[in-house]
């Protein structure tokens, strides 16, 4: 696969489209929690809608990511950034479907704004580490 001039770029392109889907799905929720998003809407409703697209984005990212990994498995295995990315990815997935989900799905009346902001920041920070790690893996 790695020798094909067509396969790798195309899969990498679809991988980037997955980045856009995840970016959108994460931002609508975290911007809402931070107070810069759809503030007239209940956070829980936004989070519920976005979760579907987050899952779709993750499906695209993980499946194309595995294919990209297969192209250069031994190179990636020895890259620190690859493991940083994987660790951040596992962390953000666990965080998203535990603490983040509970906080986002809470009734707005019961929500504590400071905790919401903190949870959104942690989520954005972890996703950013995943993304930066991904970019560094590709650097020459």
């Amino acid at each position: 696969m790695r020798d094909s001039p067509v396969f790798f770029p195309i899969v990498a392109t679809i991988h980037l489209m997955g980045l856009a889907i995840i970016g959108g799905a994460v931002l609508v929720v975290d911007l809402r929690l931070l107070g810069f998003g759809l503030q007239h809407q209940p956070a829980a409703a936004i989070a519920e809608d976005a979760e579907r697209w987050l899952l779709r984005g993750l499906a695209v990212m993980v499946s194309t990511g595995i294919l990209l990994f297969m192209c250069f498995a031994t190179k990636y295995y020895y890259l620190t950034f690859f493991w940083v990315k994987m660790a951040a990815l596992v962390a953000v997935i666990i965080f998203t479907w535990s603490i983040h989900r509970r906080v986002a799905m809470a009734q707005d009346a019961d929500a504590r704004p400071l905790r919401r902001r903190l949870v959104a920041l942690v989520s954005l920070l972890l996703w950013t580490i995943v993304a930066i790690g991904g970019r560094y893996i590709g650097f020459p």
Binding site: P9, L16, I22, L27, G37, Q41, A50, R52, I132
Partner: protein, 167 residues
């Protein structure tokens, strides 16, 4: 002076050469350019999906647009600034790249699509603001936007592979 000559001159200015050879600054700009994609295309995609009735169907379209479009715009500005720097680092190489030209054309059409949306169907948004699934003409805008954004991403990624296919 032809555009080619101009870009040739631009590429020989000292800042262009410095940026081209700086490696770390160049890679940093490239990283910001690629990662801001998640903000620019990400929020634009969420607006488009709302236009298609595929997400946040209980939220009025006008709210999705007014609250998310500024983020898409901010991302767009970062994309244009970092993109201009990447162009400046190697003007002739970019200018002669087929995928670069294709990307710029798709980008222009995407901006035009948004402008047309604002000047046409969006003016009568009160008629369909709360519809879970907006009228067909609005959905077409969403589909066209998604296709163009996908083409921009594809062309951008393929720029690095010009030599493979046209070398």
């Amino acid at each position: 002076m032809s555009l080619f000559r101009f870009f040739e001159w631009l590429g020989n200015t000292s800042w262009s050469i410095e940026l081209h050879e700086s490696r770390y600054v160049f890679l940093l700009v490239l990283m910001i350019h690629v990662l801001t994609l998640s903000v620019f295309v990400g929020t634009a995609l969420m607006i488009d999906l709302r236009l298609l009735g595929k997400t946040m169907t209980r939220v009025p379209v006008s709210q999705v647009v007014t609250r998310l479009f500024p983020w898409s715009e901010a991302g767009f500005i970062v994309m244009v600034v970092t993109g201009a720097l990447l162009f400046y680092a190697a003007p002739v190489m970019r200018y002669t790249n087929v995928f670069f030209r294709f990307k710029m054309a798709a980008l222009l059409l995407a901006v035009l699509n948004v402008a047309l949306f604002r000047l046409s169907v969006y003016r009568r948004i009160d008629d369909w603001d709360v519809n879970p699934v907006p009228p067909r003409r609005v959905r077409i805008v969403g589909v066209v936007s998604i296709i163009l954004l996908a083409l921009i991403i594809t062309a951008g990624r393929m720029m690095a592979y010009q030599d493979y296919w046209f070398g």
